[in-house]
């Protein structure tokens, strides 16, 4: 080739070995791309697409679940609120009931105590009056005995004196009763 000057047409006349090698190389390239490179890359690309799709589906699922949870919680919250208000109302009613109860109990107890006190006072007064009457009777008798000792013969005078004494005592008692009543 060097000895004769190359002309342009030689460029278009392929050598056998050039064709052979070109064919071999093309065959290798076709085989490589068709059997290895493209399937492998496509697998990765498909897997990625699938993964992304899966993620999106998953996200949607999660969102749905979250929404369900949220509505459930809202429901629960509303329930709890209404329950709480119920409880509060119940408690309030209970409290007023208890208050009412306590008040009425206290009232009745106070009344009871007042009545008891009244009775005790009455009893003591009666006792005191009886004691007074006995004592006065004794004193009167003593006095009478002394007077009688002076006027033994005069029965009429003795009996008159005792009567008048008793009368005055009754008057005293009446006035004492009135004043007690007024004090009450």
């Amino acid at each position: 080739m060097l000895t004769q000057a190359a002309s342009g047409i030689d460029l278009f006349l392929p050598e056998t070995y050039d064709i052979v090698w070109s064919l071999v190389i093309l065959a290798i390239l076709i085989f490589f791309f068709a059997k290895f490179f493209m399937p492998k890359m496509n697998k990765v690309l498909d897997e990625r697409a699938q993964r992304i799709q899966g993620r999106m589906d998953q996200a949607e699922q999660v969102q749905k679940e979250a929404e369900e949870l949220k509505s459930e919680y809202e429901q629960r919250l509303a329930n709890a609120k209404s329950e709480a208000s119920h409880i509060r109302e119940d408690a309030r009613a209970e409290a007023s009931h208890i208050r009412e109860d306590a008040r009425s109990k206290a009232d009745s107890a106070a009344k009871q105590m007042a009545a008891n006190a009244q009775k005790a006072v009455e009893a003591q007064k009666l006792q005191a009056m009886n004691a007074l009457r006995d004592e006065l009777g004794q004193m009167a008798t003593d006095l009478a005995s002394k007077i009688v000792a002076q006027h033994l013969e005069n029965d009429q005078a003795q009996s008159d004196m005792i009567d008048s004494l008793l009368d005055s005592m009754e008057k005293d008692q009446d006035s004492a009763q009135t004043s007690t009543k007024n004090n009450q």
Binding site: M1, L2, A5, A6, S7, G8, D10, L11, F12, L13, P14, E15, T16, Y17, D18, I19, V20, W21, S22, L23, I25, L26, I28, L29, I30, F32, F33, A34, F36, F37, M38, K40, M41, K43, V44, L45, E47, R48, R51
Partner: protein
């Protein structure tokens, strides 16, 4: 471009010894002598070696990427996935349609990735030559493209149905078929693969020549001439070389894209059905690409 190459080559050869002239790239660059196994069908020359090395690079890099592919992609995996996504969505699904295009995704991806990496050999130091810059690499890719659109057509309509659709399109008065049928036959058997091949091959060849010329001139102006008067020209050609290198990277992607989208559109045409709609899509998609191809050629 070819005749231009011929001219520069001739003058380059004439002045080779004198070193009064930059050591411009020649078409000998594209016809290297076999270095290994010379004389056998498995002879290996420099360009074939580049092709083999780049193939190994593709296998290793993409193989590792695929075997280490994770659900959460690394940066590199993201880059590869972006490339895959681009081929799948912007080339295959846009042209063929999602339903029918699925089975061709692997094919078009192979074409796009392989041709792109092979093309990049043009700007890789020490390779400095696209693996697609001899006619054979584009040719076998083009033949595979032919196989795919024939197989697609035959699978969809049977051999007879496919040929009837391609050679005798409906809605045309019958005398026209005398002219149209042979043209269409040549189109689907020869013109399509030939245009695919030459478009890619010539782009890579001219790219190499342009980059090589700029860099050879830079070398000449800076080092090989005795006078330093020409140094400013060297700065200019160096800038040109950098620009052409960037342009080569762009063309590498562009040509891989064009090859892939044309293969996809041929397959789509073979599949027929909803032809009008898809043809529109194809022409829309292919138009800017074809214009860019014309510019770069």
């Amino acid at each position: 471009m070819v005749s231009f190459v011929g001219l520069t080559t001739a003058s380059g050869l004439m002045h080779l010894a004198s070193a009064k002239q930059p050591d411009y790239p020649t078409i000998e660059d594209f016809l290297p002598k076999p270095a290994l196994f010379a004389g056998t069908p498995f002879a290996i020359n420099r360009i074939i070696l580049i092709r083999i090395i780049l193939t190994v690079v593709i296998l290793v890099v993409l193989g590792l990427t695929a075997s280490h592919a994770k659900l959460i992609p690394s940066r590199w995996q993201s880059v590869v996935e972006y490339g895959l996504d681009f081929v799948r969505e912007s080339i295959v699904y846009d042209v063929i349609g999602k339903e029918k295009g699925k089975r061709y995704v692997s094919t078009i991806t192979t074409i796009f990735f392989s041709i792109f990496i092979f093309n990049l050999g043009a700007v890789i130091p020490f390779a400095n030559m696209a693996a697609t810059a001899t006619i054979c690499a584009p040719l076998v890719f083009a033949l595979w493209s032919v196989y795919n659109y024939w197989a697609a057509g035959i699978r969809a309509h049977g051999l007879g149905g496919f040929l009837r659709e391609e050679l005798f399109p409906a809605g045309i008065p019958w005398p026209i078929y005398i002219l149209l049928a042979p043209i269409n036959l040549i189109e689907i058997t020869l013109i399509r693969p030939f245009s695919l091949t030459v478009r890619l091959f010539a782009n890579m060849l001219s790219g190499h020549l342009l980059v090589g010329m700029c860099l050879a001139a830079t070398q000449f102006f800076f080092i090989e001439t005795n006078t330093k008067i020409f140094a400013p020209f060297g700065v200019l050609t160096l800038a040109g070389g950098m620009f052409m290198t960037c342009f080569e990277i762009f063309v590498a992607g562009l040509q891989a894209y064009i090859f892939s989208i044309l293969t996809a559109s041929y397959i789509s045409m073979s599949l027929g059905e909803e032809e009008e709609e898809e043809d529109k899509k194809v022409s829309q998609a292919a138009q800017p690409a074809a214009q860019l191809a014309a510019v770069s050629a």
